[in-house]
Amino acid sequence: MRRDTGCHRIDHALSRRGFLAGTAAGAAAMGGVLTPAQADQLQSGQKRLLQVFLQGGFSQFETFDPKPGTKYGGPFRQIETSVPGMMICELLPHMATRMHKLSIIRSINLRTNDHGKGRLFMEKGRNVGEFPYVGSVAAKYLAPPNPTLPTYLHITTRGLSDNTNAFLEAQHAQMKLPGTKAPDNLARPDKLTVEAARRRADFRAQLNERFSGGKGQSAFTETFDSSFEMAERLMSQKGLLEAEPSGKDLERYGSHPFGRRCVLARNLLQNGATVVKVTHHGYDTHAENFNFHLEQLGEFDQTFCMLLDDIEATGMLDSTLIMVYSEFGRTPKINQRYGRDHWGASVSMALGGAGIKPGVTVGATNKEGTEVSDREVDAGHLFHTYFSALGIDPTADHNVPGKSIPIGDPAKSSIKELLV
């Protein structure tokens, strides 16, 4: 247990000074290719989080923990990567050439085969209780004081409306972007003049001031206020959301929805977003697991690698933590429909970027992939690792007045071998 029950403001735990020196130098070096907004970001030392969520539970066998030729290995072969000795599935040829920029964890045991529980555990780092998602926590502690965009954006065409911020301020809640179009009703109605909109905002502010004076009312006004602020930020960035990808981007990323979502994710990150989550649907492969992984990973692999390349090319890789993850993995046993079912006992994911040592493989599963055989970890350890990598002490308390709530599960700790 490393819990610190004393006053421990998370703001004090941030260590940006050392990072600033490095990124400023990097920004200067990249001066020729950076937009002013990107250069400002790097100068500011802002760190970011990119979550690439493969919804439904991708198969560890068909991605980062291949077992070719074994009882449950499936039909795919493993291929060498840019890291000597690190093998991944042949369905990820583009990632294979970039694994020296990423690391793999093969020994995650979530102890659940349930979509909802697995997802919440992976997002919250705790398997019970109301705690904020990793995205909300990152948004709270990484976002600049006056962000130009909502701090936690999720590009997805569907998904549950979770209470992602839990007890954190409402402005750190996840905001969903419906694919690659701006949310509905984002534009100011034609009949509402700029002056009228300003007067309305002033009136709302006056009401807020009076209303928040009442006992327990400040949280409500804050929530409503943050909704307006988010909308205003999005309205100011409407062009960014609606921009059609260039022909070159579509060629590199793919013209399919996931390709377009990743172009948007890149643009958001390059224009001040703090946390961007992009979801690729379609991994819950109870039937035809191999045909579907062939199709889905065929989309994912190149697209994700283009995103990774662009983040690196703009000098943001060292300041952007990148997660590639699911809510769990898939069963070793191949069922009658050539499917794999839900499996939380031996799950894999990839991490890279800010604070993560590249080219590392953490943990192992046994020969047939039926259980973790070395360095078992769970989503609690991962949660600690994300924030350690981002320069935030996960053993510190959240900045919630009157309460002592550690950021990470105090029973867990970071995966040290992954940290720079």
Partner: protein
């Protein structure tokens, strides 16, 4: 391990599928992917989820099991030279294997680097001088035999072609892809002649944003007038395998669907189909939800199968002897069964 004795000699009894019974049973410890009987019906072959192909002597018991090892991935389609001397295997390792069918210690005579991506189908023509294949590079390829040289490529499928066949006139090919597209090809020119979208054998899962479809087995009627395709229809949840098995009888002359055979009491997939000399069809099916599989016997044009044999598990492949007296069925649980379609001796 099965101790079932060797099957009795074939009787002269009339065909009566309602009295179908198992005369030989072979057990493997890994799920099977497909099965074939060689042209002389000496051997039963099966692919498995362990990269190997297995051979049993039909009258040799389980002890006759012989492994054909050489592929580095699953094999889901097998075919033979007309004389039965050569076995051709379609590997998910991008290669076509060439084997001595009856070898005591089989080794690949050749491994042809055939496609960029899975080889999904191989088929030999009637005189054994040509082989056609299709793969995940969306190509259909024509090879000369026995030298294994590439003669022609056929381009036009935009998604994975699942099966390809020679038309009995040997001038044309038929192929079927993931999206339900049936294509006719001119062998001499390599040109696409006709195309039909059998969308009822495909579905786009709106929730998961993915396509589900394709042929799982495909044959021509002896007269070449009908293309017969095993697969699925009524896709409601692709990722859970919620759809119905379907056998499509496709009129090759007017290029239109002729009959769509489905048994609504089963969910899942049809993995194999054969025509019987007496005019009916035998098809094998896979379950969704429950564990039982089925062999269906259909008369073309009738709404329901006239007989169904329940299988302990999903049937994943079907073949029939030339005289129609026996069929082989490969199952998910590793069982390969030989059924006799007559009364018990």
């Amino acid at each position: 391990m099965s101790n079932r004795p060797a099957p009795p000699p074939l009787p002269d009894d009339p065909i009566d599928v309602k009295q179908s019974h198992v005369v030989a049973e072979f057990q493997h410890d890994v799920a099977l992917t497909t099965c074939r009987l060689d042209p002389q019906a000496r051997f039963a072959f099966a692919g498995a989820e362990d990269f190997n192909v297995y051979r049993w002597s039909v009258d040799g018991g389980n002890e006759s099991k012989t492994v054909f090892s050489g592929h580095e991935s699953w094999v889901r389609c097998l075919d033979f030279s007309p004389d039965g001397e050569r076995l051709y295997t379609a590997g998910y390792d991008d290669r076509i294997g060439v084997w001595d069918t009856a070898a005591a210690k089989p080794k690949p005579l050749e491994m042809i680097e055939a496609h960029k991506g899975w080889v999904r189908w191989v088929k030999v023509n009637r005189d054994g001088t040509r082989l056609v294949s299709c793969g995940n590079d969306n190509l259909i390829k024509l090879w000369s035999l026995p030298d294994g040289k590439l003669i022609q490529e056929f381009r036009g499928h935009e998604r994975h072609p699942y099966a390809v066949l020679f038309h009995p006139d040997e001038q044309r090919l038929a192929s079927f892809d993931l999206m339900g597209n049936i294509k006719e090809w001119d062998i001499a020119s390599g040109k696409e002649l006709r195309s039909f979208e059998a969308k009822f054998m495909w579905g786009f899962d709106q929730k998961f944003r993915a396509d589900m479809g394709g042929a799982r087995d495909m044959i021509f009627s002896e007269d070449g007038k009908t293309l017969i395709v095993a697969g699925l229809t009524n896709v409601t949840n692709a990722f859970a395998g919620v759809h119905n098995p379907m056998i499509l009888l496709f009129n090759w002359e007017n290029f239109e669907p002729q009959h769509k055979l489905t048994d609504a009491s089963y969910k899942g997939m049809s993995w194999g189909v054969r025509t019987h000399p007496e005019g009916f069809l035998a098809a094998v099916g896979a379950p969704q939800g429950g564990s039982k599989g089925a062999i269906w016997f259909w008369k073309p044009g009738e709404e329901k199968p006239f007989h169904t044999v329940t299988l302990s598990h999903c049937g994943r492949g079907l073949d029939m002897t030339a005289d129609g007296r026996r069929i082989a069925v490969a199952q998910f649980d590793g069982l390969l069964k030989i059924y006799q379609l007559t009364r018990k001796s």
